[in-house]
Symmetry: D2
Subunit: 285 residues, 4 copies
């Protein structure tokens, strides 16, 4: 339908993003809620729709959406990793024109309402903007599974220092032995094999992030980041590699001297921008 | 500087919005963090700046911002209501050209990190997008104080019904005896006198909101809203009036029949828009 | 169904928010696109659903949504004011339990793509976050119509001053004879009678806002605001009252002295928060 | 300070994000405004701060921020590509511990206010959320420059079809010969050499995107995407490769049959989620 192309289509992919799904799992004495958002990206033999508009191999993104709901109805959603893997494998198995399926899941977290010390069987409060995440990238030959935490927002009021850095003609930041350390932890980790206990590892990594953040005497965001990654690798032998990204959400000490007051490291201006962004990837030796 | 105005300036107000402040309160054995955002609006004898650009009575909004930080350094921030009241009174006392000061505070909430069952003395996680709020509107004659909760996001998976509503030519919604009830509670309440125990009342109202939401067998969002307000007035005799607003964050049951599956009230599409919005104001008789 | 209430329901209202609608008007030689978002709020005899869960008078918010689409299919959408009025009157006429209907519309704006100087008949680019707005509040006795502009974002690089304001112990802002003036204009206006030419007045007001912003030598945001309102009232005799709100989106001159450079009023830090907020309401004398 | 690491730091990078800057260029008869946001990421010999907290090689992210303002004061900002390149080269030249600098710029666009057909010399309206972008990645050996457009939001009301796609057990989408095509174009392109006329190429690519979008009879989003890329490569011989990403912002035809009305392809529900996401990368043969 087309003549020889004047240009090469060197890469193509398409899919459906932000497919939102809530599943209720009804047990006799309590109910569970799972809320996830799904992004699907497929690669394969799709060049004809790009070059001629022939859609005969195109799986409509609307059908991908339907597939998410239909498969979720039949899957326990015991972990987002297992459901992402199930979805990715489904696309590869069902459609021969697909060579790679990437499925990204984000889970919104709900806490049970606690009344008089007891967890309520079917009422929940939102845990906020933190997300648990998973990415499965599968071809007919290989599958990689990545787990993650997004936007775990933490703040500590002391035990964070920053000094001894380069001082030159563009430096105005004073050194500090006691600053606020606030960040939104993002961590992703990859496994050496397919099916570890995803939920157990997720809990372990999240706890380590919080424990290191709270207890580490920090000389730099970088140092705390490294310690988080090191501890996660030490604790979870199924994790091969972990990447952590931490924005440094600055709290600027307000200068109160113009108002005749002493500046005592108590009053700060929290800022959204600009922010430092510190990243690192750690592996087993 | 101007001739007689061809038009009347029937209302004017100005101020500073989104003044963000973090205060750390350092105790011997633990530290507290307070994060607030302040909106200030002043009314008074400011018509000259509108009509001629004569700014001699104008308190710069930048100075309002400075005032927030300077006063916060000297105030315990024991409750946002008390600090809002302090700020409002300051502006009235300090500047005779001001006839009314409205101060709105929003507090972002932080939970202590818990390690091995113990609350950490100086590390915190964000409690999400929920806010505690206060509005103080003060003139030289009167002061009104309003407290509130914003964006308390809750969801229950059962014990919510909706049936018996008007069915006519524009009705397609099926009746249901079991739906998801999800909302973001907003409540504001006003007092009959100036200085009740704001923190105690806030805790009581918030707990009542959660308890009623969890335990009320709901025939309509309206009915649950009324029960929340009624219970809050019953429990807190200092509250004169309470207004509650609840968006109905719809979760649409996915029709799985086209995929050969039974639709069992388990798979839902959560949606942000459109949303129902239910409001009500309750007073003592 | 209920006993005498222990508390009074002094106000109640409910409705549907963010009903989004796109209508295409297909003419022989060109097509038009209208994109609106609708908020509906109804008041009336609805206390039974609050107090007993009896929904027999409740028009489901889902039915309100359906009504928007059904009526939009039959209405020319020649102006958002006329459609808002049509919707409000429909609810009052159709349901006797409703005593007041408030319909708020926001229109997203699209510009035609221009190719070689010609407007394209059916391709458009988004005009951004600016919105045209209308609010109709109707009872069986009265109707008020308000028109508006939201988020008309403008910036001028000179001809804005700010000096002569109060200098006291909380003042650190320097006086300036040449600052950036940036804001997002919000204007709403009310009419003395029901059916003026809404589109013509909207165009006139918007043009006046832009012209005054550009050409007014500003001694304060307040002064420019007043001039905008005065000019709109002068030009449009159907407008009885106009309210304008303008955030002062500060651009802070960067101090370059620490880097051995002269600070020449050329390099600024644009900030989102905090911001000044200036408001005023003008009427005919 | 540390023993041999139990884990390897296989990658590290850090920098400053969202450094916002406005520069005014004051000419005798008119003024120009440039508004940019800068992200900087540096890689190099920084492992000591991660592993021991020794910050002696760390350039504070605050100093990076200062550098942006200081260098912007001395640079014409004739194109964002040239300034990004200048910044990246500065970091490499000034600090020997840096091995790679990545500088990403986003430019917010302003249109001149037009009064009586004349462009105003110093007043502007925001062009909305569209951004011009540039990324320069530089090492001591190589520099790559990428230009881009983000969020060019367009909609056409006809001349878009979608049919002939896979129909199977998960397909419910009807075929259509006339649908709304709405998207937010994102395009990035890379050059074969360092210093072409960036502004001229940007204008050309943007015009081609709009022209193809408006005039292409689309059988799929993919086909239109490919045509855009092909035409850009044809027109700009300095571009080696172009990547385009287009979300398919669905407008769902509202079914009016339940309300006794004919569904005539005029009334649509615009939706934000889920959305299709179509991508493609084209190169010269």
């Amino acid at each position: 339908m087309t003549s020889a192309p004047s240009t090469l289509l060197v890469h193509n992919a398409y899919g459906k993003s932000e497919v939102r799904l809530t599943k209720i799992i009804r047990q006799p004495d309590h109910q569970e809620v799972k809320e996830i958002s799904v992004n699907i990206e497929l690669e394969g033999d799709f060049s004809e729709t790009y070059m001629s508009g022939d859609n005969s191999k195109v799986v409509a993104t609307d059908s991908m959406k339907n597939t998410v709901y239909a498969l979720a109805a039949q899957h326990p959603l015991d972990s987002i990793e297992s459901f992402a893997n199930h979805l990715a494998k489904h696309f590869l198995k069902r459609y021969e024109q697909i060579s790679q399926a990437t499925v990204q899941l984000r889970e919104s977290l709900w806490n049970r309402v606690v009344l008089n010390g007891n967890e309520h069987p079917h009422a929940f409060t939102s845990a906020g903007n933190e997300r648990r995440s998973a990415v499965v990238k599968a071809t007919r030959e290989n599958t990689s599974i990545q787990s993650g935490i997004e936007n775990l927002v933490v703040l500590k009021t002391t035990n964070s220092e920053f000094w001894g850095f380069v001082r030159d003609e563009y430096t105005t930041l004073p050194e500090t032995r006691d600053r606020i350390f606030a960040t939104a932890i993002e961590a992703t980790w990859a496994y050496g094999e397919d099916n570890p206990d995803f939920n157990k590892i997720y809990d372990a990594v999240r706890n380590i992030m919080l424990e290191v953040f709270a207890t580490h005497r920090s000389l730099s965001v970088q140092q705390t980041l490294y310690e988080m990654g090191r501890r996660a690798l030490d604790a979870c032998d199924r994790i091969e590699e972990i990447t952590i990204r931490m924005p440094n959400q600055h709290h600027i000490a307000m200068n109160l001297t113009p108002f005749g007051l002493e500046t005592k490291n108590e009053i700060f201006v929290p800022t959204d921008e600009p922010y430092g962004l510190i990243t690192g990837t750690l592996r087993r030796p």
